[in-house]
Symmetry: C3
Subunit: 410 residues, 3 copies
């Protein structure tokens, strides 16, 4: 594979069909994906509540890279590459912990939490500390969400976050805390993994839990976001009624999607849960304290995609956050975080098992689905197949991806 082959291959892709095999298995394309797509997006990798105190840190690992996310004395949070500037050793060896000084375990070079060198023993006279700070990684906090960007020239964060801002703010994530985190390592290419997330055509056969808590008409028309399935007059009516009611309550309503191609692939919308459901649990009964601006349940569901690598699916009393990390051409790390109001207490105000029930079981099922999908896609007999009317979200993601890739190599 080289860029010329790839250009021709991109041209060959047909709309409303899945991609050719190469896009799901080839290492050359995977490396381009990382370099030109993943590394240029603002991706959230955690929540400030994971590192509440001075010196708290956690590592964000992706492939060969390890990033230290750490809180300094003044509550500022930094992201540094976990690479000592002396001989290159990892500095933090644990997944998370607390450090008031970043001391390399090899030769004890020490760095302040802002990345500047504190001390390096026995260096020559021409050693200039200033030149050997830790490599910084771009970091922004929005509503407690920690976004990083691996690019040297990151897009403007405010421009990036602007369209989804109000939808996120509504849920008061800056006053939230992580109730639970879970990893779902998945033996599938990141695009197969996201294809799965961009359509709800598989929800009916594969996700009984999801179908229990969401309306059948919603699943068809809105399962992977607005305009991702055939329109449903029934659901349009339900949505219209709900919008009217909720506007009166003063809550955000409506939806956002990109009107034309750009660097981003953002979306947001608010929709009602299935009738009678207060939140996304088996019983539908409230499961935790109301979050953010909510004074009472509007029984809505806020879906936000800030990039292909992150989704926020938020009820009135808890939020489920998704991070998809491409690891290698055949492997993707999927991380889920469940957020609740910062004052909610487990056992008293919320029940973890009830709250995580649906998305935990659904993500376990998706992991298996994606892995079986990848196995078949590796066959010499795999060729692009036709998409259904419920896979418009996948088609949208695919077009955005192909255009991005094409631009990046031309």
């Amino acid at each position: 594979m080289n860029n010329d082959n790839l250009k021709n291959l991109i041209k060959k892709q047909k709309s409303n069909y899945t991609l050719d095999q190469e896009f799901y298995v080839d290492d050359y394309i995977f490396n381009l994906d990382i370099k030109n797509i993943f590394s240029k997006q603002w991706v959230f990798v955690g929540h400030t509540s994971r590192i509440p105190k001075y010196g708290d840190f956690f590592l964000f690992n992706i492939g060969k890279e390890s990033i230290i996310i750490i809180r300094d004395k003044d509550n500022k949070i930094y992201a540094h590459y976990n690479v000592c500037r002396h001989r290159g050793s990892h500095i933090c060896l644990e997944e998370s912990g607390n450090k008031k000084l970043l001391v390399c375990p090899y030769h004890a070079w020490s760095y302040n939490l802002d990345g500047s060198i504190k001390s390096a023993r026995l260096m020559n006279d021409n050693f200039n500390k200033e030149e050997w700070s830790l490599n910084k990684c771009n970091l922004k906090i929005f509503e407690g969400l920690i976004f990083i960007n691996l690019s040297d020239k990151p897009n403007d964060f405010n421009e990036f976050i602007s369209p989804t801002k109000e939808f996120i703010k509504l849920h008061g994530l800056s006053n939230a805390k992580i109730a639970h985190r879970q990893m779902y390592p998945t033996n599938g290419n990141w695009k197969l993994t996201l294809d799965n997330f961009h359509e709800c055509y598989h929800c009916q056969p594969a996700h009984p839990e999801y179908c229990k808590v969401h309306d059948k008409e919603y699943i068809i028309a809105y399962g992977a976001g607005s305009n991702t399935g055939p329109s449903s007059k029934k659901f349009d009516k339900i949505l219209q009624n709900w919008n009217e009611k909720v506007k009166k309550m003063g809550h955000v309503t409506g939806e956002y999607s990109e009107s034309e191609f750009n660097d981003y692939s953002r979306s947001a919308e608010r929709t009602p849960l299935k009738e009678g459901m207060f939140t996304e649990t088996k019983s539908g009964k409230p499961v935790s304290k109301l979050m953010g601006d909510f004074k009472e349940y509007d029984c809505g569901y806020t879906s936000v995609g800030t990039s292909p690598f992150n989704s926020l699916l938020m009820c009135n009393d808890f939020a489920t956050l998704f991070t998809f990390i491409p690891v290698s051409s055949l492997h993707t790390q999927v991380e889920l975080m469940w957020l609740v109001h910062k004052d909610a207490e487990e056992g008293k105000d919320y029940n973890l098992e009830e709250m995580t029930w649906m998305w935990d079981l659904t993500t376990i099922a998706d992991k298996k689905i994606i892995e079986n999908n990848q196995k078949g896609v590796l066959s010499k007999k795999y060729v692009p197949g036709p998409l259904s009317e419920m896979e418009k979200g996948l088609e949208k993601f695919k077009s955005w991806y192909l255009k991005h890739l094409e631009i990046s190599i031309s």
Copy 2:
């Protein structure tokens, strides 16, 4: 490696010497082997008794490919690539089972057992079911043996099976059943694995069980088939006497080997077991019901090779079937099936341990031998070594292989 290098390398190979290292380790050559040799042969991968009922299926897996072998209502057996035509998912996830409809676990596209689509929800109007049947794999049944061929233009099956037909028919495999199946995954190139099977020079040092049940003179002269070792007047005499006796009984005798180079590498012959042995067990006593045309024991041994990837070694009362599947340049799957008369009952009519004793222990020993052979062949010091007079079968296989490979790249 490329085809030009390979052509020169093929020319460099000397007769009566083993192959150069590249043939046993190189991925480029391995891929050509799969494409041009394995994929063009009729290979048996199972026996109809494994899937006796409507809907019974098993998977035949090789490298990245998975094939569903399934029995339809009308008792017709089909082979389909295990790849959904929609998004490419594997359809059958278990090694074997029973399905009256092939439903993809991802989006519930369903296929009839003949591979045609039964249903696909919510497809566009221009979706034409007829175009999206499962990819068929060529399949033929002969005497209950399920042969598949991965080629798009397979050789004529009748032409292929014709010379070994009578030898196989004699044993009544169509009225047989599988008594036992066992896998012997072997960390060695498929050609090293078959080199081992094509000579009996190693039987004396490495296979005490084999040497217990076969005559010493037979092993020398016929251990890997007729004309694979130095001739033995003693054994010629034994064979001549046996042939006369057996002809009178009306049983098939004689032998077949390819008289000139062609697409196939077939062989067949009937020989007597060691004196006093009725069958291929430790004691030599009958171990199961007589099979096929046999009314009485003729104490013969029928060896059939339909291709390098299959062998049938058949006594009067049971048959041992071998399948050799190249998995990667350094890995081969070896499967053994023991067949008995379909009416034989375990414990009553046959004893599994006695019956499998020799070939189970011998194949375990061969697995180790081949793995140690592969380790040494990886050394920079390995060079082709000289063959003995008992390795003519290996030389024959090697010549056939090299010629086949040469033609396929010219």
Copy 3:
């Protein structure tokens, strides 16, 4: 990567900085390292006491190669590639054992312990035994140390061993025996592994055991050999006094290092242990019988490097021997052997736990250090870092390596 790129890359390397990432991760460079550096050095891989009796053997394995080191009737020790000349099988399958004849387990070709063929059954008339001896590997014994050299034209052994001869002889290793052997498989490039061994800048933060038994001033000035750190007047004084005392005892003193670039990278020196220490143990008390020429303790420490792949660190009553084997670009095998006087008895004359304590714990720590170093060096953000005044030994090793590599590809 190719030789032209590599030449430019070599030119780019700056003195007193670590190497560019490629040198620590690239397979092309790794293969050159093996071919042009490791394979041209005399490396010791064991001690004669491991195979005291006729027929005793052990295997030395490196990557795809396996070498049989075996003692013949006349006490001569041979090294043969573990590859049968017939079909290439490994001949010895166990790590060590006793064989009076090397019989291939495959077809029973047998070889005398000097590698000549004893028997090969049923070969053609034109088979000439003389041509099919086992492939010999160069082998020399010095003071019981078994050195091998994988080159076809090895450097003269006497020339090689000459400068370190007296330092080694002093310790009477020819009258020694192995008290303990231990492997420390390390997930790091061999140069990262040796970088670690060529500086003691990390000893203070990472090796409390080492710092307990060695003088602080020694560590700074001599931790990785003479002239590897800043000079210490305090230690110079200690050394001078000790030299005077020890010369009177008639023991070797002084140091050796290469005065100009050559094929070798040898060093040797004798220094005093920390005051009050008799040997390199926690308590400093004698731990075994005096070795070699020692009639009384001179409390010295003899450090010898015969090549980058071997070090000998010797006290008056035991010796710790290091072998570093590059396995792949990201993996190195590290083997330690502890030698004591051949007449010393465990439990009575020496205590294994006390004797191995320091280097066992220190090597376990180094294994972790090197693995964390390798992880960081794989980051896209890794760039060569500046060396301290205590890393002059690393710089010396690096220069020697780069020059060697440059010559080998020009």
